[in-house]
Each structure stands twice: as C-alpha cells, then as structure tokens.
Symmetry: C2
Subunit: 255 residues, 2 copies
Amino acid sequence: MVKNSIQKLSIVGLGNVGSHLFDAFAQENIEITHVVTRSEPSQRVRAKSEWIQDPKDLPSGQLVIICVPDDLIASIIAEIPVDCPIAYTSGSVSLSNLPKRDELGVFYPLQTFTKDSPINIFEVPFFIEARSTDFASKLFDLAWVISRNVNYASSADRKKMHLAAVFINNFTNHLAHISKQYLDGEDLDFNHLKPLLKETARKLESQDPISIQTGPARRNDQEIIQEQIDALENPIQKELYRLFSKSIHQTYFND
Amino acid sequence: MVKNSIQKLSIVGLGNVGSHLFDAFAQENIEITHVVTRSEPSQRVRAKSEWIQDPKDLPSGQLVIICVPDDLIASIIAEIPVDCPIAYTSGSVSLSNLPKRDELGVFYPLQTFTKDSPINIFEVPFFIEARSTDFASKLFDLAWVISRNVNYASSADRKKMHLAAVFINNFTNHLAHISKQYLDGEDLDFNHLKPLLKETARKLESQDPISIQTGPARRNDQEIIQEQIDALENPIQKELYRLFSKSIHQTYFND
C-alpha cells in the first residue's frame, strides 16, 4: 500500500483537466483548499473550496497543481508563493524550460477530458517527473490515489507520448468531423457510421493496427481511390485522402 | 413482422465479409446450399454447405451473394447461371456499371469485418439496391433477418457512405498504426494510448466531433505544432501532421 503524504492542495484553472482532477481528488478525500479561476466557479466547487483570483493568495508551503494552457504556465508559476511545491499537467512543456523552483514537477494525465463528461480516471495513465527524486515520489503517490496507471517519464518521453496522442485523439476526431460534415452536406445520416466507428475502436484495443488495415489503399485499388478523391470538394480533404493512401501504400508495399 | 421469401442461397467468396454473412445466415437458419471458394473451406463450413470451385455449378434459379473484391465482381457474374438472382456486397461498385441481368442487386453491410473477430451483426447498417423494386424488397427482407438496420440506398449514396467510412475506419486505423510505430521506435508502450483511444471513440458516439476537438491545432499553438512536426522522421507523416493542422485551423478559424 502506497502512503500518500499530500492531503491538501490547490488547483489553478478549472477547465477540462482541472475540473476532472478536482472531482477525482474530492472523491478520494484529498482536500482542495483553494481554486484559482478568473470567473466564479460552480456552487459545487465553492462548497468544497475557497475561490481566489490571484495566485499570490495561495497558502504558502502547500502543493499547487496548475491546469492552464501551455503558454500560461511560466507566468502563473512566477506569481505563486516561492515556497509552494508546484506541479503542472501539460504533455508538451519541458521541465527544463521553466523557471527554477525548489519543488517543480509534472503531473500529466494522458487522456482527453471534457468538462461535463464523466471518465474512469482509475484507468488514465499519469506521467510524473520532477527535478528531485523526493518530490517526484510524492507526486507519484498522489497520482496513485486517483489512478492505477502511474508512471515516471522524462520530458522527452512525455512529449513523445503526447505526439502519439495527437494522432490517436485529435486527428481521429477531426477525421470523424470530416466524415460527418461530408455526409451532412449530402443529406446522409452520420449515425449510420457509428457502429463502424465503435468497431474500429474496439478492434484497436486488442489487435495490431498494421494487421487489420482494410480499404481501397490497402488493396491498392487506384480506381476507387481516384473516384473518392474526385468526390471530395475541399482541397485540403482531397490532399489528406491522397496522403493517407500514399502512407498506407508505403506501409504495405514498401515503396 | 417482415416475411422473408429467401430461405436458401449460395455465397461466392468466404473472406472477411463472406464468412460473417455465412455465420449470420446459418445462425438464422437460412440454408447456404453452396459456397464457391478457390481453396478448401473450414470443416465448420463444409459441415453445412457444399463446396464448389466453379460458379457455373451453382444451382439455377437460387440467390447467389457475391463477396469478392470489387474488380472481380463483373467476371464472377458472367460465370453464374443466367437465371440466378445475384446480390453483391461492395460499397463502391455501381449497379449500372455491371452487365445486365434479370435480377441483380446490392447487399452492402457498412462495417469492417475481420474473419475471426465476432461482431454484433444486428447493429450493422445494410444498404440495399436493385433494378427491380420486387428484387430490392426481397433483398431488404433477407437483410432484415440478420440486422435491424436495413436501408435502401442508390449507388450514388452508397458510394458516399463508403467514402465517409474510409475516413472513419481506414484512415483512423492508419493513424493508430502511425502512433504505434512511432512509440515502438522510441521504446515507449502503445498500451498507454489505449484508454485515450477508447475514450475518443466513446465520446464520438454521443457528441458532435466539431464541439469536442482539442489539441495544439485547435488552440492554434504554432510552437507545439512545429515541435511535433520536427519530431517526426517520415516525410509523409510530417506532411499528414501539417495538413491535419491546416484542416483543423480552417474548420475553427474560418480561413
């Protein structure tokens, strides 16, 4: 049984990530003493935490978890009392690019969060990093309270995981948008695609994508490929189709 | 209750689609009298059907479902006795591009099938088309025996659904391959991405992809975008990343 030494903390930013961490900690009886947000948080949050707007007012000596966009992290750190340990949740910001602090670390959940969409946080992989082994270990134990998938990772490895996540999540989601927009424009129902989308994801949980690839590009069916490119109107989508076909061809026909 | 008039049929081709249809019909006590395949089918199939290698030997007057690659459909049709009604399972081949027959139709399941991976065929959307209303209606009723999602669709609409399916399935799967290949090459574990992949698909079942897009391109974070492009080695993958970012930018920033 891991012993977690952090029983109180504050959170800066209650967007998609911050609000899910808030709920996860609250659920496990970790006290969130303060939340820092520009606009007033919900009644639910205010019932459990004190709302402040200025990071300078955070209690000294107590952990602060920063859940703000990447380009705001450095400036927020500068405003937090110097004796507060700090962790931030970004996938891409290197520890070495931030101002030196006694205790500064990373608490990165590799998942896509939407504010009002519940998630099983116990399955979410967390990646921990800090300059001191001692602080890294404390953050590890804290993550272990809310997840059973906690790992140490260097900034370099965390960036690599984030890049892969962009392909799996951001680009996949955009492919779904392109499909939906195309079918909407043709007065066809995107719902017909949902069983396929579900099956695509289900297969990927247990099978290697390289072995289950199907479709015109996998068969090198140039006639269908050209027909489908011609059917698209948006030049960027035509080019995406062309590139995917080229990339699939390269994968299976070694050219 | 729909009355299905087709109680016996034959199947040409037992690949990913044919083998799933075989099992689905067998399950519902539709008799598959003959299967036509080049190599010997499994004992399981031979216990229920007669194996033949030449389509000329198919019983006359009885429905044949053709489950072969698109470019072989026309030549197989030419070999089947002229009084056999025929349906084929392709998403892309137009009815009007095939040789005229008395009864020729389409029986297209919009799903990705893998031979040994079970699937809930009751949820799979089927798209039916035929030159005669009467034959279309018979194929509709036959599809209804194995699925509760059966629709009529013209060749043009079927092609559009197939194009959208290529984005949702083929390209999504290839994105997963790119992620996995990249992480494998960096000695990182693709399994860490699986909860994210699962959540991405779960969200898309109930939410509009346009409203849940996240990531560097959605935030127009040019620094991270450039860093991630630089981290990729394969030129096609770099270009895919660039194009996705451009397409996402176009979607959200109207340029």
